[in-house]
Symmetry: D2
Subunit: 333 residues, 4 copies
């Protein structure tokens, strides 16, 4: 259960906009719903911007009612659709976006997405003066300044559901599987998934493991009677193909391993209870921060407390490595 | 992601016991696995006590190996089995239990369960001097001194999975459903579930709602075009039958509502990733607290930090009401 | 995989209607989608009748396009909404319904629902001459003339998912659970569920079991070391309360059993692959039967072959008891 | 619901063996349970052969009791473990296997697996005279002589669960995904999955589609306003890499498509109700066929009737293409 900040209303808005941008994440819809319902309850008009910053630039803003967010809290993806918008990296494009918002009478913006989205939001508000509050929406949980992000818990649950299935085959055939999970440069998904599925090993970019060491451990497991079957969870890393190459290298050490790349199944699906509640709390809080006069911030999560985090910090920062990585090492057989 | 305390080893144990007691909760097995593997890694023998305090009294202790907790992290229920043991309320019984542990050379005990289990643990260690560390295992999340308990997240996810199904019928037939969730005197499950499934109303013991007020709100919803279908989540309360009686009372107000009692399906099932990780972290930490010289404590969760909580506080305390209840009120249409 | 009849086109229609009526069932949406897309592909206009026969009487017909059934195949419930319509039991009401269809230029009707719906369809086409083809949509699988009905497989899967969870508690606490599943007078759900979850006993209306016999078997299981825990699957029967009364009667025999009533969670949810495919095949075939000049029939399922079944047979008939009941008896321990 | 043959007992056995071989499939455990319990009920000793034919050759036979198959019906994989055994392709090896069975007093064998397993069973019984009945256990459903195989329904449900998630992203980003499902040379999984998830296109080996035709259809969809997002289900085909190459070829046609390879997640997992019931019925029937004097047969499924199929037919035969492929073409937008 989260604790929300208590805030005084110091500003008024006639209308605000809300958009989702970058890779979609489960419970983005729950966040949109919370933003819309909270703003409407405060007497503010709400516009949904379709297709992220691209839709903003093309003026695709649609008035939202309480009913337009009914029955979406349980849906994956984003009803506002999303996009990665290269053009938004340019200052003049951001000015144009501000003009479009002003034409619609939209006085503030709530953006939901990952670090790219939040960096764009930071530049946008600094340059145009239009207040912006960001929400961390990312399955990777790699956004600096927040312990948690919308979609992370669901993605982890999806991955362990898949790995629980793979383990059936691993046990039946006494085989070793390398299972690649998402996360780009971040090992958060891999660490959480690895602990939760009782993986034999977890490989993440933050703590590189030499292939010799992996091969040695596997040989050692076999020698000490721990068997040669099991699951090694691998974070995808910055570029594709990592896990396939690892399997080839292990073959040199005499270790046979199957490769499974979980891929896009981790991104969608009905959000977990945790993500629905997190997104709901963050959506309410985003509107309340705007009304309390905040801007250029993201709603972050510190333990279970929601708090404002400067978007400048998010934009330039770097998240520390997952601390639980160490604990994982001592729990497998 | 949790942060675990850093602890120095000041005590040594030859053997410890671990038991689960009271109502079973998902991820109890993950906790047992983490306790066993951590202790074995520290060179400590581990005995699994079967059937909770009842099994302790009958001397049903079984030596555990690393392999005996293989492939259980994903299983619901508890491989150690559980029981509610009336006899353990008596001081002489607890002395007898201590004798049995001493006979087996077991020098400390880790107990996993709810407030009854933890109260028993408190009395046991105070009277017998045998060090005890407790873990909060309860789907209800009603244990004082901790924000979270093992099994809560899974139970909430199970309930919203069921309610997502019921909503299909509610929408197809434009009907109202009263869905009773578990939680006894606590509204934590109901509040979390209610927010996560976008319930029209949440009824919990901590904030009683008069039936007149419910009837009035429903009539108002109909009048203002919000429709008469939907989900009201009801915490079960101290005694059975509450929700059925509520449906009858609502009929007097002209409101027709179907009753669904989710019941025992909330208690079992493969644990969520969150609960598997929480239980794993708590299991590791329980052993480390024992080695650091702690006793008569529960491993509690404060935000995302694990910390010791006096069992005296757990035993006599009362958990504050769920704070998110207020937020739920403003999010439904 | 189903085999579909090969049919020649002998009739032409400008427009047809489709409706869902009675209790909703998973994959009704898949059937509506298949009806709409098939008819549109044949150059026929399609009207969705909202709220079953009630909506037909109030003229709630909406023109459907290919896009209006996009992205619904995976959704539970029915986008056309459903209702139980008492008025449709009267002949004059059915004449009025025919007039409304003719006003809209709708020349034939496809109705999806259970025996009440199909009986109404039979009377309607006989009295008004408007061609009707019915589809068996019922989680109970109690419709005569067809081996399978839309929604049955999903409901059974939902029930076993719930019972797999209950079994975790049954095993952890060595308890006996009476789990009541849907099915009214039919034991089809109970039999399929009972076999699939490895139930200790299955109680269905078609083969009544005296309570003495249940008590004796339970006592015998305990005596022969088979333990006293387990699951007894109970078909709900014609009126509520059966399973609660059974638990009370068993108490007289010294048997303690918990009661779980699965209730409405069995009705909703994303349909299983089987039901999506069955409903798709039946929806295509319904349109093709209309074009082949058939009327007053239901699309039935004989093994894996789809075939026409006279609605007169459906209306007056009685389904034979589930044959697999006998096999269930020899598989539990 | 299946109909089982009625068979007279004409032979007696003191002991039989049961094994699983080849790729594991969900509900193999349900089949093993049904074989063991049925045989035990008939007074026959049962030996579980571990690790398929490899375990048979190394004499890894373990006596089974009713309790040894308790609580396994819901588990994926196979408790008997499985293996692909090259050595069993040689006649002298099969003679050695027969000797080992005779040493243990095992007079007949029930083998559960795919076409390789069943071909081995056919040669084995023909050469050694030891009666064998096979069960079709294969997620691919590519075994001649049976409409259905143990594990197929579960694998299809797992795949559509994954694709329902991918569709969230496809819709949110208006992207095209190529989703590769299992099936080797068979398009059964792809066809069933494609219909069930409402795929825009299905590509299977039995009906090859030129890449030009795919590119043309996609361009046409865009031109006629059907959008460019969606799911194309691709059967994996005889060798890996097919789907990746297809994506590259489509790029030449100006079509951007993401690739998802579902891989081993389709093989494991708790079996669906359908597969548990199918496997239970087949397991019972396999024992009854042995007792009725049959050998060198597989228990096949013709519609919903179980019937004996000559293993010679299975071994040399070829399954006809999936008939529903045609229906799939007319149901997507």
């Amino acid at each position: 259960m989260y604790s929300l900040p208590e805030l005084d209303v110091v500003r008024a808005f006639d209308a605000i906009g809300v958009l989702t941008s970058g890779g979609d994440a489960p419970a983005m819809n729950a966040a949109v719903r919370a933003v819309a319902r909270t703003a409407l309850n405060r007497g503010i008009r709400v516009y949904g911007v379709h297709r992220g910053y691209s839709g903003l630039l093309s003026g695709d803003l649609r008035r939202m009612s309480s009913a337009s967010v009914s029955n979406i809290i349980q849906r994956g993806g984003t009803i506002l659709k999303s996009d990665r918008c290269e053009a938004f990296y340019q200052a003049e494009t951001r000015q144009k976006a501000a003009d479009i918002l002003r034409e619609h009478g939209v006085q503030a913006l709530i953006t939901i997405g990952g670090d790219g989205t939040l960096t764009g939001a930071h530049l946008f508000t600094r340059e145009t003066g239009i207040p912006v509050v960001g929400l961390p929406g990312s399955i990777d949980n790699d956004i600096p300044g927040t312990d948690d992000s919308i979609g992370f818990d669901t993605a982890v649950n999806t991955a362990i559901g898949a790995i629980d299935r793979i383990r059936d085959t691993a046990l039946s055939h006494e085989r070793l599987f390398l299972v690649e999970v998402m996360g780009r440069n971040s090992g958060y998904i891999a660490t959480q998934v690895g602990i939760a599925c009782g993986a034999e090993m977890i490989l993440i970019p933050e703590y590189p493991t030499p292939v010799e060491s992996i091969g040695y451990t596997l040989a050692d497991n076999r020698r000490t009677g721990k068997g040669s079957s099991g699951i090694i969870v691998v974070a995808e890393g910055p570029e594709p193909g990592l896990t396939g190459r690892l399997a080839e290298q292990l073959r040199i050490f005499g270790e046979e391993a199957r490769v499974c790349i979980l891929g896009h199944i981790q991104r969608g699906g009905s959000p977990s209870a945790h993500d629905r509640v997190l997104a709901s709390c963050m959506g309410v809080t985003a509107v309340d921060y705007l009304l309390a006069g905040y801007s250029d911030i993201m709603v972050g999560c510190d333990g279970r407390a929601l708090k404002p985090v400067s978007l400048a910090h998010v934009s330039g920062g770097r998240k520390r490595p997952p601390q639980l990585y160490q604990i994982a090492l001592q729990l497998h057989k």
